[in-house]
Amino acid sequence: MTMEIAVIGINHRSAPVDLREKLAMPERELPQHLQRITSDPDISEACILSTCNRVELYCVVSEGADAYAKLSLLLARLKGLELEAFGDSFYFHSGLDAVTHLFRVASGLDSMVLGETEVQGQVRHSYALAHSLGATGRFLNPLFQRALSVSKRIRSQTAISVGKASVSSVAVEFAKKVFGSLSERTALIIGVGETAELTLKSALAEGVRGVLVTNRTFKKAQELARAYDGEAFPFSQLAENLHRADILISGTSAPHFVLYSSQLSSALKRRRGKPILIIDIAVPRDIDPSVQELEGVYLYNIDDLEAVVEETLRHRQAELPHCEAIIEEESLEFFSETRAYNVSELISTLNRTFEEIRRSELEWLIPKLTSLSEEDRKRVEQMTHRLVRKILHCPIEALRKYAADGAHPSFFETVKRLFKL
């Protein structure tokens, strides 16, 4: 029976988050799911990719089976859900399309943020897990290995992952260009908004040492400070504490400015000329824009940061045709290779069948030719061997060529039926 690679799944484009989270599969559940999938007689290999933006099942299924119906039902039932709940959220690809899809996913071309690199690690991790559980084999092993190498090639030969594509990462990049290393720096958060916290997390990941938090509601400031092992102070004491901050992240919901030039200039004097980076992510803005006239003050508001993100994404978008060309080239090459691999089994079966016919005919003939010497008997055997080889030469070459050209599976099925293989 001929097998083929298929993928079924949902992602951020095909399904809303509430549907995606219903299907999400934590790592601890994957072994049992993979075991259940591969116990199906029509599925020989499987790998599940479950991230915050997608849940996908890559598998090797019998050709001819209604793979979409089977896999969508299987995926829904894995999580104890009814298929109807997903409507037409599932997408399905098989053969060359499935190969192309995985290559695009691993390269970040199918991600919410074009060109993001995190998904490459997630694909590697999912594959490693499935491989360690013995759920992958001769089809999925080369497929995932190739997907990872294609992803590497795309990132090195194109600029698809160049630049910062989130507000928080852009803010941290500017901070690094003001201070160099952030390891001895202190960040001050004004307000306890989500984006401010995200920016703080990015800064902490780059080594920011101290965290100061202030907020109109002091209790919330204390909670945030506790979460990041920082120090909270009442909002009324902002002016007295300003000089302690190297990086100031402001994200309050105040309808007016919360920091003015005069407050900052006295803080700068206490900082003895050391620069200060201010990230104003509030709308309406928290920081009086005139502070950027002060020497040693670098101010970035949400528009400045988003403009950088947009520019990055524009550049990445321009790289897309180049990436797609690489993916097309690689997936066609991979598909041809696997077809050639697939057809080699067919060729060996063909050879074996003809060899059996030859032997049985010889076994019938030789006892009847009693006058043959040992040498003549060997010549007859040799002749039949050559005959079979010559008869099969052209069909085998044709099979290899059609396989390399990506011929439709029905062609090989016809060959099998013709010779009863």
């Binding site: 500017f174 260009k177 004097k269 000329g273 020497e295 950088v308 520019e311």
Partner: protein, 265 residues
């Protein structure tokens, strides 16, 4: 000539790297290293020809000055990872090396009367000037990076040039080192002049000019330490300070009417 070409190539490569045209970030450093080796070789051969090392001939002094500046740049590049500085330092090294190739040698008298104090005076002055050269090019890089940050774009220059904090620290360290060496040179020069009653050291124009340079750098270091000037002003003034120092350096090499013998012919 080989050193000059290598400095020019290194500077061009570093500039192309800053603009994002090449990813070869270490090529400029390696090129400058080879250029420095050729310049050292030239100095050694020149000294062997004169019979003294280091030669006090103005061609030799000019090459020694460039070599000091390039060596300090390389030390900065490899030890402190001062990214992108070659784009500013190596063109200066190229221009000064070409100047060194164009000038005539001084009189043989410049080599006479060499004592430990004279060598200490000359070396500390030349190495000090090399440090001022590094300080001013780093200050220039600081101004470029500061402008990039204020334009609020993640341009290739912003990404590849060191941070303003690092550039400011490097410039300050180079300036302090240069100032220390220049002070030693002035003190030793003063001692030498006082020991020679035939040549009154004041009001010699070279002494006055040196004093102006010393006071300027003393003020810059003080203002940086006390943060009485902004960092941008300090950067601009350190470039100005180096221009004045360079003027003094070339005057010493070419103007005869001074206590100095380097002016030669």
């Amino acid at each position: 000539m080989v050193a000059a070409v290598l400095y020019a190539v290194g500077g061009a490569v570093e500039f192309a790297h800053l603009l994002g045209y090449t990813r070869k970030k270490n090529l400029a450093g390696h090129t400058a290293l080879v250029g420095g080796f050729f310049q050292l070789l030239f100095l050694v051969l020149l000294s062997l020809q004169k019979g003294v090392f280091p030669t006090a001939d103005r061609v030799g002094v000019l090459h020694l000055f460039v070599l000091c500046a390039v060596s300090l740049y390389l030390a900065t590049k490899y030890a402190f990872k001062g990214g992108g500085l070659g784009a500013f330092m190596l063109p200066l090294a190229f221009a000064l090396t070409i100047t060194g190739l164009l000038v005539k040698e001084g009189l043989p008298g410049a080599e006479s009367g060499r004592t430990f104090l004279r060598i200490l005076h000359g070396l500390s002055a030349v190495v000090g000037c090399g440090a001022f050269a590094l300080s001013s090019t780093t200050a220039f890089a600081y101004l470029v990076q500061d402008r990039q940050l204020r334009q609020k774009r993640l341009s290739p220059i912003l990404k590849r040039l060191a941070s303003v904090g690092e550039l400011d620290r490097l410039s300050y360290r180079a300036m302090s080192t240069g100032f220390l060496l220049f002070t030693v040179a002035l003190a030793v020069g003063l001692a030498l002049a006082m020991g020679n009653p035939e040549h009154p050291f004041f009001p010699d124009w070279m002494v006055v000019w040196s004093g102006v340079v010393w006071v300027l750098y003393a003020l810059l270091i003080h203002s940086h330490f006390t943060a009485s000037f902004g960092r941008r002003k300090v950067a601009i003034l350190s470039i100005l300070g180096f221009a004045i120092t360079l003027g003094l350096f070339f005057s010493l090499l070419f103007v005869r009417d001074s206590l100095h013998k380097l002016a030669g012919g």
